[in-house]
Amino acid sequence: MKPLRLWRRFFTVSLMREAEYRFNFALGLLQAVAEIFLMLVLYLAFYRFADEVAGWTRDEALLLLGVFWIFDGVWSAALTPNLRALAGLIQDGDLDFVLLRPVSTQFLVSCGSVRVRELLKVVVGIVIVARAGDAVGVAWRPDTLVGALAFGACGLTLMYALHFTIVTCTFWALKVSELYILPGTLYDGARFPVTYFKPPMRQLLTYVVPVAFATTFPAQALLGTADWHLLPLGILLSAGALLASNRFWHFALRHYSSATS
């Protein structure tokens, strides 16, 4: 598959670029560790006062936190750097160089570079999921693992489609290169089980800014408490959102006043 082969190339080039700036690389790792430490302290603070919050014990919540880091690692390694850079491409007219290439432009602007250091979070996430999972007594069955991954993939696709659509608005709001942080705070909601939130907010975090698919549902799949009806719904939503983001991108491209023409 061509995109996959291309992506492997992007990955190699990005890794080489990052290896050039070793101090920054180490600093990035340090920051990831700091972030993880902060969240662990926050969760320990929660469970000083209650054994169970909104149906989640401490170890179950830690499992969810591990799922969050796996998701967040993939998200900020593969997608964030590109979504951040996209506004600049549109504003400076550098998008011209992308449009000339014989591959899907949406794929190129969304996946063109990788921040390899962020993948450390994935490793830490897997360790935490494994340890917290053992503490809760998760039966590591292949079908639940696949289910959890499927939920996570839906979450990733939905979040991507939403972010991409918002950043695409840069074609009209040329001065605003900060559009990508707009869903940022609600993204932070992915660090908590969606049941922590009361109804209007809970629906918001499930369907509008779909972080529930990214962390809560995969964690529930592992814990054996998932509502499996949500999986086909998630797949349907993901396909629709991806298609809509692509249509919107092509519509927006027609409003692109490049650097040269």
Binding site: V41, F49, A50, K175, E178, T185, D188, G189
Partner: protein, 273 residues
């Protein structure tokens, strides 16, 4: 400083504030997005802590009303005490752009205030309606104090907190005289601030054994203390002690600035310096 010099300095700063208000307004859409986030972030923390409060059967050290008031107003304190200058200052020192700041008719520590005040005036104009909206959403539990003296004390502590964060940030930027890259220091301080200023975890929720330490460290006085003044969790003695610590840290940072600035300029090497 004579009265005449002070008046001149004030006119200079006022002019810089005006310029910065204009510059900030030019990017108003971006700043509005920042302010949306500045409101939503504490709101997210509040919702999560309310869930914990329900689960614990109202056993948190702060009651529901205090928790709501604390987090609804946090956006205002966070924006007023926010800092962003250190990376720019460090870059200026590293590449020699500091030289043009040294030509200005007042020390940089004063002229740089213009950027902060100008930007924060615009930010507050956008933030206050958003905070009012958040307060309205939580109107059932929001408890604003009625006594004017409490609001005055709040404003005073807010002003000192803003000065303290400004000085702490400036001092970190000045480290660039000696170390190539200050981003590690900034990242570490950022972590300590997130953890110890009461942003994600109100300081009252830490284990009691840590309380004396939190009281002594500077971060409480950058965010938590002004909010504590307003939510009325402090008695008169604790209030006085808090102000003393806050002012003390401010003075200590000023001294630190004086020392670093003086010796830093001696090692400063740039084209024409």
């Amino acid at each position: 400083m004579t009265l005449h010099e002070a008046a001149r300095l004030w006119r200079l700063i006022a002019q810089l504030i005006k310029v910065n208000v204009m510059m900030t307004l030019e990017y108003r859409a971006a700043f509005f997005i920042y302010m949306l986030n500045a409101t939503a972030q504490p709101a997210m923390s509040l919702l999560v802590w309310l869930a914990v409060n329900d689960a614990s059967g109202d056993a948190l050290p702060l009651d529901r009303a205090q928790l709501v008031t604390y987090y609804v107003l946090m956006g205002i304190v966070a924006v007023v005490t926010g800092t962003w200058g250190a990376p720019y200052l460090a870059a200026d020192i590293r590449n020699g752009d500091l030289s043009k700041d040294l030509m200005k008719p007042a020390p940089l520590i004063f002229t740089a205030v213009g950027n902060y005040v100008g930007e924060k005036i615009v930010k507050l104009g956008m933030l206050l309606p958003l905070v009012a909206l958040l307060g309205w959403l939580f109107r059932d539990s929001l408890q604003l104090p009625g006594e004017p003296w409490r609001w005055l004390l709040f404003l005073l502590s807010l002003l000192i907190a803003a000065s303290l964060t400004y000085l702490m940030d400036f001092v970190q930027g000045l480290l660039a005289f000696w170390i190539q890259d200050v981003s590690g220091v900034l990242a570490l301080e950022d972590l300590l601030e997130k953890l110890l200023a009461g942003r994600f975890i109100p300081l009252a929720f830490f284990p009691p054994a840590l309380a004396p330490l939190l009281l002594v460290l500077p971060w409480r006085y950058t965010l938590s203390f002004p909010l504590e003044v307003l939510t009325g969790t402090l008695g008169p003695a604790a209030l006085a002690a808090g102000f003393a610590w806050q002012a003390g840290w401010c003075a200590a940072m000023w001294l630190m600035y004086r020392v670093l600035w003086r010796y830093g300029l001696r090692v400063y090497a740039a084209a024409g310096a």
